[in-house]
Amino acid sequence: MKASSYRLGLICLLLYVLLIGSACAAESDEEDEDEITFRDFSLNIGDRVDLDDYQMELIEIQSLRDGLVVMRVSRVGGSLDEQRALLLDSPNNFDGGAEKGGVTITITDIFDEQSARVRLEYEQKLGTPRKRASDRPAAMPEKPELLVQKSFDRNEMHVGDEVKVTITIKNTGTGTANDIDVQDIPPLPEFTYIAGYPPKIKETLDSGQSDSAVYILNAAREGSVQIPAVVVSYADSKKNSKSNSSEPFSIIIRPKSKADLVINVEDTPPLVLDEEGLLNISISNQGSASATRIEATGEVSPSDGLEIKGLDKSFFEIPPGDAANFSARISGHKRGIYTIRLKVSYDDGDGSVIREATSRAVVLKREYKYQYLLVIIPIIIVSAWIYRRHREYKY
C-alpha cells in the first residue's frame, strides 16, 4: 500500500513538475515572441530579404563616399511601400521599427557600388527572414581605374643631356574617368625644363582609353636623383573622387659629357735614306661626347731632312667610342733621328681643347743588301793578289 502510495506520490510529483514546467514554458514563449532579434545580410543590388509580409530590396548604392544606400521596404498588401536612402550606420525604422512590431534596417557596410551589408532588426514573432537573390543580371558597375606611369627615356644621363619624360595615364576600369587632374611635381633643382611642362592629359578618359604627355628636361646638376611619383586624381560618373600615383624611381645624372681625344702615333720602323714609309695615326674619342671641328697639324724637328705628306688633316666629328685613322707618307733625305709632333685641336663640347702626341722617325744610311761584300770582296781580291804575288816571288 505504502509502495503504491509512494508510486502515486511520485507520479503526482512528476505531474506537478510537468505542470509547473509547462506553465513556465508557456510564459517563456510569450516573452520570446516579443524579443527583438537581428540578422545581417550581404546584399547585391536587386537582392531582397523577406520577413513575414515585409519585403526589403537593395535598390542602389547611391554614394560610396557618403555612405548612402537606397533600399525599398514594402509590405504585402500595400500597407507599406517606401524607398529610402539609408545612411551608413544609421538605423532606419519602418512601421515604427523593431520595437514596435516593425523592422529596423541599418547599413553596416558598403562593400562597393554593387553590394552592402544590411542589418535587419525585428521581433522574433515575425518569423525568420529569408534572402531572395535578384533574378536580374548584375549591372556592370561603372568604375574607372586610372593607372599612371612616369618614365624617363634613360636612367643615366650626363649634365647637359636632354631627357624626355613621358606621363602615361590609362583607364583600366569600367567607367569613364572624369575631371582627370595630373599633379606632377615641378622640375627638380637637378633639371631645367625645356618644353612640354606641365604635362597635359585629357580631362576625360573612357574605359580602356589612355593618354600621355611628354615634356623635355635638361639635366643640370650631377648626382643621384629620386624622381617623385606623379599623382592623378579623377572622378567616376557618380562624382566619386579617386586618385592614383606612379611608382617613384631614381636616376643618375653623371658629370657633363665631354669628348676626350687620344692620339696614337705609331713609331715607324727605321727608314733607309730616300725610302718611303708610312706613319699611322689614330685619333680615338674615349670621351662621352662627340668631338667636333678636329684639326690635326704636324711638325718635324729638325725641320729639314724628313719629308712628310698628309700629316695635316681635319675631321668634322668623331663620335664617342669612334676613331679616325689616317696615314702620312714620310721619306728621309738625310740620316738622323727626327721627332714628329702632332697637334690636334678640337671642340670637346665645352670648349676648344688641344692634344699633342709625338713620334720618332729614324732615317738610316742607305742599306745595301750585300754591303758586306764591299768589305769581303776587296779583302779577297787583295788576299788573292798578295798570295799570287807571294807565289810569284816564292822560290
Binding site: R389, H390, R391, Y393, Y395
Partner: protein, 369 residues
C-alpha cells in the same frame, strides 16, 4: 824601245840583279812589301834572270820573281871551283839558253857577275860566248865585280883567271866594280855589300834609261858600244847627284868623275880612253855652256866624250861611263893573285912533303893483328 837582258850569275850577280829589281819598285825608298802591291818599273823592256847553282843563294833573293830565278842543278853550288862550274854550265847549257831564249830578242845584255866566285866566274865567259853565238846583233856588257882582297887566295885566283877569260870573249866590254875599293863606303862587309849592290843597280838602271830616252842631246846604244870598245874595253862608271847647296852642273860633272864616285879606282884624266856623260836634271839646272865646258875639259884627256842630256825634274844627276886605256890596279890584283897562288902551291907542297915523311915511318911495315 830597247830590249835589255839582265843576267845575274852567281851569288854576287844574283844580289845585284835583285837590287836592280828592288830599284825597279821605286829604289831605296821601296818597302819590303812593295812587291805585293807594285809592278817593277824598268825604263825599257828589261828581262832579268838570276842564274845560280846554289839553291840557297836563289832563295835569298827578295825582289826577283821565281820564274826569273834559274837553278842550275849541281848539288849545292860549285864550291868556288871554276872547273866544276864550267862543267855544270856545259851540262846545262841548253837549259840555260832555253830559259834566256824564252824571254825573246835583246839589243843588249848585261852579264853581272863576281869574278871571284865559283858559279859566276866560271859561267859568265861561257854564257857570253853562247849569247854572242845565239844572238848575232846583241851587245854584251859584262859587269864584273872584283873581290875583297882579304877574301882568300881562291877568290883572287878565280878573279885573275876569270878576268882573263872575260877579256878574251867577244863581248862589247867590261864594266868593273871593285868591292875592295868601295868597301870604304861602309864599315862592315855585310852593309858594304848591300850598298855596293844598290849603287851598281842604280847606275845600271840610269844607264839603261839614258839609252832609251828622248833626250835633249842624244846618246844611244851605238854610242855606248863605241865607248865600251875604247881602250882596254874595260871601263867603269861614276855617278854624282848635286846637292841643294851646289847645283852647278859643271861641278856635278866633274864630281862624277872623281875617284870617290867611281866603281873602280881610276884616274880619268890619265886613264880614260872614251867616255860618255849622261846628264839628267831640271831644265833650269842644265846650263849648256857649263856642260860643254865640262865635256870639253874631259875630252882633252879622254879623247872622245859622248854626252847625253835628259830633262827631268830634280837636281842634276850625272852618270859617267868611260873605258880605260890602262888599268894599273888590275895588275896589282894579278900580282896579288899570283903571290897567293904561289903561296898556296908552296903550302901544299910542304904539306905533301910532311905527309910523305910521315908515311915513310911505316913504309916497310905491315899491319899486325
Amino acid at each position: 824601245m830597247l830590249n835589255v837582258l839582265m843576267l845575274g850569275v852567281g851569288q854576287c850577280g844574283n844580289r845585284i840583279l835583285d837590287a836592280m829589281n828592288k830599284e825597279a819598285f821605286g829604289g831605296g825608298g821601296a818597302s819590303k812589301l812593295a812587291k805585293y802591291y807594285l809592278r817593277p818599273k824598268f825604263p825599257s823592256r828589261v828581262e832579268t834572270l838570276a842564274i845560280n847553282t846554289a839553291v840557297n843563294d836563289l832563295k835569298e833573293l827578295r825582289f826577283t820573281t821565281a820564274k826569273d830565278r834559274l837553278h842550275v842543278p849541281n848539288l849545292h853550288g860549285v864550291g868556288a871551283n871554276r872547273n866544276v862550274g864550267k862543267q855544270a854550265f856545259m851540262e846545262n847549257r841548253d837549259m840555260i839558253m832555253g830559259e834566256i831564249e824564252k824571254r825573246g830578242d835583246f839589243d843588249i845584255a848585261f852579264v853581272i857577275t863576281s869574278t871571284s866566285g865559283g858559279t859566276g866566274s866560271s859561267f859568265s865567259p861561257l854564257l857570253i860566248n853562247e849569247l854572242k853565238r845565239q844572238y848575232k846583233d846583241i851587245a854584251v856588257i859584262t859587269v864584273a865585280i872584283l873581290p875583297f882582297r882579304e877574301e882568300g887566295s881562291i877568290y883572287l885566283q878565280n878573279a885573275a883567271f876569270s878576268m882573263r877569260e872575260l877579256m878574251e870573249v867577244d863581248a862589247e866590254g867590261i864594266i868593273l866594280a871593285d868591292n875592295q875599293y868601295m868597301k870604304r863606303f861602309s864599315g862592315d862587309i855585310a852593309s858594304a855589300y848591300d850598298k855596293i849592290n844598290n849603287m851598281i843597280a842604280q847606275r845600271l838602271l840610269f844607264l839603261i834609261e839614258s839609252l832609251d830616252s828622248e833626250m835633249l842631246s842624244v846618246t844611244d846604244l851605238g854610242d855606248f858600244k863605241t865607248v865600251m870598245n875604247g881602250g882596254l874595253r874595260i871601263g867603269t862608271m861614276g855617278f854624282y847627284q848635286a846637292d841643294s847647296k851646289n847645283l852647278s852642273i859643271r861641278d856635278a860633272i866633274e864630281n862624277s868623275l872623281k875617284p870617290g864616285n867611281l866603281l873602280y879606282p881610276a884616274n880619268v884624266a890619265d886613264d880614260a880612253a872614251r867616255a860618255m856623260i849622261i846628264i839628267q836634271g831640271s831644265r833650269e839646272h842644265l846650263d849648256v855652256d857649263e856642260i860643254t865646258k865640262a865635256v870639253e875639259k874631259l875630252s882633252a884627256s879622254a879623247g872622245h866624250v859622248f854626252k847625253g842630256i835628259m830633262v827631268k825634274k830634280g837636281r842634276p844627276k850625272i852618270l859617267s861611263v868611260f873605258t880605260l886605256a890602262s888599268a894599273p890596279e888590275l895588275e896589282g890584283i894579278y900580282a896579288q893573285a899570283a903571290r897567293a897562288m904561289q903561296e898556296e902551291k908552296e903550302k901544299r907542297t910542304r904539306a905533301r912533303k910532311q905527309l910523305d915523311d910521315a908515311f915513310a915511318h911505316i913504309e916497310d911495315l905491315e899491319e899486325i893483328y
